[in-house]
């Protein structure tokens, strides 16, 4: 494990990605404790303030402290994205493994159906699901999870199939190992790695999808400090103060780049060959 972490931190992507993701997770855990102001406290006299010692990143259209809102909004934005990605991955992995295991006609039918579902853009799919369930944060989570499941199913299936054909699996069969041993010791470690890489990269897509849903008014509702919603609300006031728009955008970008880099770093660290 320590050797793996060393390998991960040796590449620039891995090191920067790990740093950014740890930073974001620290904000998720400790952000609300260290936030200097109440994120929903209105101060009509301190609107559109630029960055200062008092308000580190300035204030928004209602005089709310942007820094505090970002710190507290991290939970709504990042935790939801991670949960949705994990849920989508689990559903997808289940379908993908089942499809690879069943093989033949069933496999063909499942994969064709998944192709069909994937022909609906995931944003549109999420929009339909949220509209169906009603706009709220939890429903947005369900929508993103469902939108991610087909893609993950496809990846899991192809990985499982290619691993099954590897020489080391055949060697284990020839050695007379039990199926349980082969699945546990030979196949699983090799199937999980690419899925974790894909999952890490998808967290950044999930963050963006959530933000987009909130932007379209179908995710978090005001006055929540969700970052996508902050950008959306800032649009009307951006002429008065660009900071309201820029800071939550920077926050979204940090999360997206962080998870992307970490995913690439993990991929390199898990494949010592390349």
């Amino acid at each position: 494990m320590t050797e793996f972490i060393k390998r991960l931190l040796k590449t620039p992507q891995g090191a920067i990605g790990t740093f950014l993701v740890v930073l974001v997770l620290a904000i998720v855990v400790f952000g609300p404790m260290v936030a200097p102001y109440d994120p929903e406290k209105l101060s009509p006299l301190a609107r559109y303030k630029g960055p200062s010692m008092m308000y580190w990143l300035g204030t928004d259209q209602y005089g709310r402290d942007i820094f505090s809102r970002l710190l507290i909004g991290a939970r709504a934005t990042v935790v939801m994205a991670v949960l949705a990605t994990i849920a989508g991955t689990l559903i997808g992995a289940l379908i993908g493994t089942a499809s690879a295991f069943l093989g033949g006609r069933a496999d063909e039918l499942i994969m064709r159906t998944i192709d069909a579902v994937m022909s609906i853009p995931s944003l549109l799919f999420a929009l339909l699901v949220v509209n169906l369930l009603g706009s709220s944060t939890v429903n947005a989570l369900v929508a993103v999870a469902i939108a991610f499941a087909p893609g993950m199913a496809r990846i899991t299936r192809s990985v499982a199939l290619s691993v099954r054909k590897q020489d080391y699996v055949n060697a284990a069969i020839a050695r007379g190992e039990s199926s349980a041993y082969i699945i546990r010791r030979e196949m699983l470690p090799n199937v999980i790695a690419p899925i974790i890489v894909e999952m890490t990269i998808r967290v950044s897509f999930a963050v963006m999808l959530f933000a987009t849903l909130s932007f379209l008014g179908l995710g978090a509702q005001p006055p929540a400090a969700e970052w996508g919603l902050m950008v959306s609300e800032a649009r009307r006031y951006m002429h008065l103060s660009a900071g309201i728009l820029i800071w939550p955008s920077v926050a979204i970008a940090i999360v997206a780049v962080g998870f992307n880099l970490l995913g690439d770093g993990l991929r390199d660290a898990l494949n010592p060959r390349t």
Binding site: A116, A211, G228, S232, S249, V257
Partner: protein, 304 residues
């Protein structure tokens, strides 16, 4: 294949619109309609029939080219949707064109100069490109180029046939915003494919044979490296169609994405069904063409 895809999509779309808490009859007659009037309308619209029968009727009409009547406007959905699709396709084609012009050279430069500064700059750009959702880049672009510099109009749509220059100037920002994520994605793919190809034995053989670097790159490496790009671009069309929804909403372009948002907000079931079906069909047809093109260009692959 396409037929099966569209059948599954039609089932999903129909199922979702059936569970939607919207009663078409109530929507058309208003909240104060008498129960008798509602029942009569349901009967004429076939809403009292069993679900599977409604689905069969709807599907039969769709196959004949009748996508239904909008509950919001009372106009046929089909012509309005296809007109909107045309505007969206214009946007999509410009975006794909811009993407190809930029992403392929960027990917090639990064691959040949692997590990050098040019490679790092390209990867940096590609990471930055996937870092922001379209609505954020769009908003920032409007703030920068329309509000501050006043170079381009902030929103709106002018048909190219009315006023070509004005139409183009309205398209610049939306097209750039949509292409950013595509450029980032495709340039990375081109780079990794080309890096893989450059390490194969046949490339080394060609170099050892005494062929020049440029000749090997053009005649041997690029031909093989750029083939998978076709599939990637086709798969990215799904992403593109999603991006079009947001970008059209922000720039007030009356394309199919905007139509869909309006339809979803108004719970206009026939319009939702038609819009989703058209989007899925576009995606499937593009991917079908990509598969054929791929097989045609790469003789090793044969489809039945």
């Amino acid at each position: 294949m396409i037929v099966y895809t569209l059948l599954v999509v039609s089932l999903i779309v129909f199922a979702i619109t059936q569970i939607l808490p919207a009663d078409a009859a109530v929507m058309m007659l208003g909240e104060n309609a008498t129960p008798e009037a509602l029942d009569a309308l349901r009967q004429t619209m076939g809403l009292d029939a069993p679900i599977w029968q409604q689905y069969a009727t709807w599907l039969w009409h769709v196959v004949q080219g009748d996508l239904g009547t909008s509950l919001r406007t009372g106009q046929p959905v089909g012509p309005a949707m296809f007109e909107a699709l045309g505007r969206s396709l214009l946007l999509a084609l410009f975006s794909i064109g811009l993407m190809l012009v930029l992403a392929i050279p960027l990917g090639i430069i990064a691959a040949i100069r692997r590990g050098k500064i040019a490679d790092m700059v390209v990867s940096l750009v590609s990471y930055a490109g996937v870092a922001l959702p379209e609505f954020v880049t769009a908003t920032i672009a409007v703030l920068l180029f329309a509000d501050w510099m006043k170079w381009l109009p902030p929103t709106g749509y002018v048909p190219l046939t009315d006023n070509f220059l004005d139409g183009i100037s309205h398209l610049v920002l939306p097209v750039c915003v949509i292409s950013i994520i595509l450029i980032a994605h495709v340039s990375r793919m081109v780079r990794s494919e080309l890096v893989d190809v450059l390490h194969t034995d046949y490339i080394r053989a060609a170099r050892l044979k005494g062929l020049s670097r440029g000749h090997v790159l053009r005649r041997h490496a690029l031909r093989n490296a750029l083939l998978p790009t076709i599939t990637i671009v086709a798969l990215d069309v799904g992403y593109l169609l999603g991006g079009v929804i947001v970008v059209e909403e922000i720039f007030a372009i009356p394309g199919i994405g905007r139509q869909l948002i309006v339809a979803i907000q108004a719970r206009d079931l026939p319009a939702i069904q038609a819009g989703v079906l058209i989007m899925a069909a576009t995606y499937s047809i593009v991917n079908f063409i990509a598969d054929i093109l791929y097989a045609w260009l790469d003789k090793r692959i044969q489809y039945d």
